[in-house]
């Protein structure tokens, strides 16, 4: 099953590029410590602002840290946050969506209103507000990701639940006296997980962008933790003399977002063309 899916994706040009990029990014993050002999936060003043060379393939930054090393370890941070924050938003979104779809009508209306209200904040403004409240941290990033993603997930789950609620097999289960919890768990959840997985693969680049963007503004993970956004921030201050720092910080963001988007688009076209047109 798994190999068949991979083969189908690799047959599409876009899917092949996407899957390759995703694989490269994931492997380089997992094996970061094997791929480089430098430590990500080791400062060496003698090698400040070294341009790319055989010793430092992507050059060094203003503290003499090897940029390739920071990019590789930054991949770990980016992917962990992307997976973690997406998982949390998924759980919250599924629970709220099931409640809205299966619960009483008034609760549905209240929840829909809250989703709309949350979505009516421009993302960056939301992030800036939250950071004002809680200070810059990893948790602020996760919270922003949740607020951005949960309304979308919950809405889809809600719609699907509403459709399934009146489906015959659910009616049958209910007439046999199954509890609401059992119906949701056994009959509804398995049927909506497919479209959700596809949406997740398309949302990962958004989450990567939020983390990098917040770290670029100095509102995300704290230094000296390596993050692609933080590298961009370091490089931006020295863009006129040491252009390689921003290139090193931006390139992994571009490759990761492109890779996951291409991959997700192909998945969607192959397995659930109905989702097309949603953005």
């Amino acid at each position: 099953m798994m190999w068949r899916t991979v083969r189908r994706i690799m047959r599409e040009p876009l899917g092949a590029v996407g899957l390759t990029l995703v694989t490269v990014v994931v492997l380089s993050a997992v094996f970061a410590s094997a791929l480089t002999s430098y430590a990500p936060s080791k400062i060496s003043p003698a090698e400040r602002f070294a341009s790319p060379s055989l010793l430092h393939l992507l050059g060094t930054d203003h503290l003499g840290r090897d940029l390739l090393t920071r990019v590789l370890y930054g991949g770990r941070v980016a992917l962990l946050i992307a997976l973690g924050a997406t998982a949390v938003s998924l759980v919250v979104g599924v629970v709220l969506g099931l409640i809205a779809g299966y619960g009483p009508r008034w609760l549905d209306n209240v929840l829909l209103l809250i989703f709309d209200a949350v979505k009516s904040f421009p993302t960056v403004m939301l992030a800036l507000t939250l950071v004002t409240l809680f200070g810059p941290s990893l948790y602020a990033v996760v919270l922003v990701v949740m607020l951005v993603n949960v309304p979308g997930y919950a809405r889809i789950i809600r719609t699907q639940t509403l459709v399934l609620k009146s489906a015959e097999h659910v009616m049958a289960a209910r007439s046999m006296g199954a509890s609401a919890g059992r119906i949701l768990r056994v009959h509804i959840l398995p049927n909506i997980i497919g479209p959700i997985l596809i949406l997740i693969s398309m949302d990962i680049p958004v989450v990567v962008a939020i983390e990098a963007g917040m770290s670029f503004l100095g509102l995300g993970v704290r230094p000296p933790t390596p993050s692609w956004g933080a590298i961009l921030n370091d490089g931006f201050a020295n863009i006129r003399d040491s252009y390689w720092i921003v290139i090193a910080g931006g390139l992994p963001i571009v490759l990761t977002t492109l890779g996951f988007t291409f991959f997700g688009e192909t998945l969607r076209d192959l397995f659930d063309p109905r989702l097309k047109g949603r953005s």
């Binding site: 040009p13 876009l14 209103l113 809250i114 709309d116 209200a117 009516s120 904040f121 421009p122 993302t123 960056v124 403004m125 800036l128 507000t129 950071v131 004002t132 409240l133 680049p205 962008a209 990098a212 963007g213 670029f216 503004l217 961009l232 490089g235 931006f236 863009i239 006129r240 252009y243 921003v246 290139i247 931006g250 963001i253 571009v254 977002t257 492109l258 996951f260 988007t261 291409f262 688009e265 097309k276 047109g277 953005s279």
Partner: protein
């Protein structure tokens, strides 16, 4: 139609008041007393007490809450503590710069997105269509702040074709526009992709319509059909899309303003956060949100006017 518009406005009003509630909660939740935050560590107890009374902090929460709502409705977003100017004035001073950026972004995305979508629809399935498809996805995927930094690096630092910082000389339109090109590209690039995909999809749908079939039967050329008859209908969904797009562009304008050192709401909020100037933060966020909600309501009503099908599906 009036019922639809009223319903849409009503929803907008509810969303704005929920947003106001969140802003109030935010100012209220901030760790530490707003008065001591505003005056800094060297303030005497008498000064703090005076400011607390002036800010209404000695009143019970529900009184403060009603007071906050009342003054916001009167257009009073409070006073900035440092310069003693009304928050609304400070925010409104920066708003035109951000609006210029968003309008610039819309211009880029419409000017390139609509033609790309049309070309892709005409050549559907062909090589050109596939190239435009991949390009559109790529433009959507790449975050705007990376676009901003890379375009600054290439066009302003390396090639030196365009200015890198500021918003241009006041009163000099050419200089203003020149300073707008790169930041607005960074803001609008993703939406070139969204719009071209949207136009392509709705163009393909429109080309199936019966009046287009009639036009074909009359022997009109394909170009004439696409660009005169079908485009008029196919661009309609773009209007709603742009309603959402303006919100996204407001978000990315924060990055564009910081990268290109332009004045604007985003830069205002960003700098206010670093000096803990909370009234400015909440005021600017509130103005942005109200603006965003109004734009979306206006876009929905406009589409309702142009396309009666939307009205009935809303009820």
């Amino acid at each position: 139609m009036i019922r639809y518009a009223l319903k849409r406005l009503w929803l907008g009003a509810i969303i704005i008041s929920v947003a106001m509630m969140m802003m109030f909660a935010m100012v209220y939740l901030i760790p530490g007393d707003p008065a001591s935050v505003a005056l800094g560590p060297r303030a005497t107890p008498e000064m703090m007490e005076a400011l607390r009374v002036r800010m209404g902090l000695d009143q019970p929460v529900w009184r403060q809450f009603l007071h906050f709502y009342g003054s916001v409705l009167r257009g009073d977003l409070g006073t900035e503590v440092l310069s003693n100017r009304p928050v609304l004035d400070v925010v409104m001073e920066q708003l035109p710069f951000t609006l210029a950026l968003v309008v610039g972004g819309i211009t880029w995305s419409v000017a390139l997105g609509i033609p790309l979508g049309c070309i892709a629809a005409v050549r559907r399935g062909g090589f050109v269509d596939q190239v435009i498809g991949v390009l559109s996805v790529a433009m959507i995927a790449v975050p705007s702040f990376v676009v901003a930094i890379y375009s600054l690096l290439v066009f302003a630092v390396a090639l030196q074709w365009l200015p890198a910082i500021g918003a241009g000389e006041p009163g000099d339109l050419a200089s203003r526009l020149q300073h707008l090109i790169l930041p607005s590209l960074a803001v609008g690039l993703g939406w070139i992709g969204y719009i071209s995909r949207m136009v392509r999809a709705s163009m393909l749908e429109t080309l199936e319509a019966s009046h287009i079939r009639t036009a074909r039967a009359f022997g009109l050329t394909e170009n004439r059909i696409v660009y005169t008859y079908a485009l008029r209908i196919a661009v309609l969904p773009t209007i709603t899309l742009l309603g959402v797009g303006i919100g996204h562009m407001l978000s990315s304008s924060v990055f564009a303003e910081i990268v290109f050192a332009r004045p604007g709401i985003g830069k205002l909020v960003y700098e206010a956060i670093s000096v803990r100037n909370y009234p400015i933060v909440s005021g600017a966020v509130l103005v942005t949100t109200v603006f965003f909600v109004l734009v979306n309501v206006a876009a929905d009503i406009l589409v309702g006017l142009l396309d009666p099908r939307v009205r009935s599906s809303f009820n």
